[in-house]
């Protein structure tokens, strides 16, 4: 059963969009700038208006406000709270949801350990490196044990080495927690390493839904005469480096 379903979604980008994400899978949404990737995540999060229905575990959540949708959202610019230290950033969702102080401390410590940032506990975001900020933002998104994790091009501002390392770690954490994840990117290297399934989006329309096997197929043939390679080459924007293409 799909963890997330979108039925007949329409707004200023999409028209009658239908798609599903299986429970516990990591779905990669690929597409060039302006394809509607972030808009898709914002619809699932309830941050923008839309027509149609979004279902979590088969239950429509359109009337549920963002704050109650139980989602973890890693924003492209991370959106850390600059006035709070790392521990307070990570524990924010627990605090606003009225958890006990001891429980918050324990959970925050666990997450800091999981993300290997225990030593940054008292630091403020402005003093952190790009990779460290990324880890803090992910720990914060995971703190409230969300049902769905939304990742919006989180590696954009990182160098290749840190990016590789974080990709692996996010994958491991996602597998370990079994959390349904939608990962938006226009970078094929990110997609290749992380995805269980791939949706290729262009101008608000799904061009192709591709399984991992098809995505890795040397011939790049989706089995129906439609070459994934061709689709990606025409979809991924020209900023994408040649060596990152399949």
């Amino acid at each position: 059963m799909p963890g997330v379903e979108l039925k007949n979604i329409g707004n200023y980008v999409f028209s009658n969009l239908n798609m599903g994400v299986f429970d516990g899978e990591l779905l990669v949404v690929l597409g060039p700038n302006g394809a509607g990737k972030t808009t898709l995540l914002n619809i699932i999060a309830g941050l923008i208006d839309y027509e149609g229905t979004v279902l979590f575990d088969g239950i429509p959540i359109d009337e549920i406000p963002t704050s109650e949708r139980q989602i973890g959202y890693l924003f492209q610019n991370l959106a850390l709270f600059s006035h709070l230290d790392v521990a307070s950033n990570v524990g924010y969702s627990l605090r606003v949801n009225g958890e006990e102080k001891e429980e918050i401390i324990q959970k925050v410590n666990e997450l800091l350990k999981l993300m290997k940032i225990e030593h940054l506990k008292q630091k403020y975001p402005k003093t952190l490196s790009g990779g460290e900020k990324q880890r803090v933002a992910l720990a914060r998104a995971l703190a409230s044990s969300p049902k769905i994790l939304l990742l919006d091009e989180p590696f954009n501002s990182l160098d290749a080495g840190i990016c590789r390392c974080l990709r692996r770690e996010i994958c491991q954490i996602q597998r370990r927690l079994g959390i349904t994840t939608i990962f938006v990117t226009h970078n094929l290297a990110d997609a290749r390493e992380m995805g269980d399934r791939f949706v290729i989006l262009k101008s608000g329309k799904i061009q192709q839904v591709v399984s991992k096997e098809m995505f890795f197929d040397d011939a790049g043939d989706a089995g129906n005469g439609y070459r994934v390679q061709d689709c990606l080459n025409c979809t991924i924007d020209c900023n994408c480096k040649r060596d990152e293409r399949l």
């Binding site: 999060a45 941050l47 406000p65 963002t66 704050s67 109650e68 949708r69 989602i71 973890g72 959202y73 924003f75 492209q76 610019n77 959106a79 850390l80 709270f81 600059s82 006035h83 709070l84 230290d85 924010y92 969702s93 605090r95 606003v96 949801n97 403020y124 975001p125 402005k126 914060r140 998104a141 703190a143 409230s144």
Partner: protein, 249 residues
């Protein structure tokens, strides 16, 4: 290094005072026109010991504190409303845009008729002088908060009220303090002007009495007190801003 910095800061003041004292001792000008620094300090001591200075200072301080507090609270409250709710902003902004450019003292004749020549006059003037800058700085601070940060708080389960108190207001604090700091000094300037034209007590009134008696030494004492009070108020808000935003700015 710190001692050196302090000395570098103090040295020009010492030189200034020495030149002042030197010129006064030359007796080029009559003492009632240009008193020496030592004469001013003697007068300061006399006024302070006699309680005249303290009484007038307390009168002015009371007006500044009440007017500034009311103006700031109103400015911050209204600023929060206008910064958070576009409908409030759109309906009130045209009125405030018209009223803001009027200098606080420009209201004095009207207020003399409306509220009378009493304690409420300087308090109302200070209220007006504090209100608008604090209002606009609060709006700027609130509108300056990154939209994604607000969205992030929302996805983390925060209600609108929680977002306001835990994200928007703390991030707007630097702007709010800028407004408070700028207007803290201005409040003193306004109260002195109001006391000079209409109120019989306070530092401004003392200056006017001294002027009528040709007591330049007392006028200078009052100006020195005014200068110190403006500086103290501005420094207080500077200190508070640093304390509140320590670490994260």
């Amino acid at each position: 290094m710190k001692v050196k910095d302090v000395l570098v800061g103090i040295l020009p003041i010492i030189v200034f005072v020495m030149i002042w004292e030197g010129i006064a001792q030359l007796n080029i000008f009559p003492t009632y026109i240009f008193p020496s620094f030592s004469a001013v300090i003697r007068e300061f001591y006399r006024l302070a010991v006699g309680g005249v200075l303290l009484n007038n200072l307390l009168s002015s301080l009371f007006r500044v504190l009440v007017g500034f507090l009311l103006g700031s609270v109103a400015g911050i409250t209204m600023g929060i409303g206008m910064g958070c709710k576009e409908v409030i902003n759109k309906s009130l902004n045209p009125i405030f845009t018209l009223l803001y450019p009027i200098p606080a003292l420009g209201w004095a004749p009207l207020l003399m008729i409306w509220v009378g020549i009493n304690e409420m006059l300087p308090i109302t003037l200070i209220f007006l002088c504090s209100f608008f800058p604090v209002l606009y700085n609060t709006i700027t601070g609130i509108k300056g908060v990154d939209e994604d940060v607000i969205k992030a708080a929302r996805t983390l389960g925060a209600s609108d009220r929680k977002i306001l108190t835990t994200v928007i207001l703390p991030l707007a604090i630097p702007n709010i303090f800028t407004g408070l700091r700028l207007e803290a000094g201005m409040a003193w300037r306004v109260v002195i002007a109001a006391e000079m034209v209409a109120i019989p007590t306070g530092i401004g009134a003392l200056m006017m009495r001294a002027e009528s008696l040709l007591r330049v030494d007392i006028i200078i004492v009052c100006l020195m007190v005014l200068s110190v009070m403006c500086l103290l108020f501005e420094r207080f808000f500077q200190y508070m801003e640093k304390k509140v935003t320590a670490g994260w700015r």
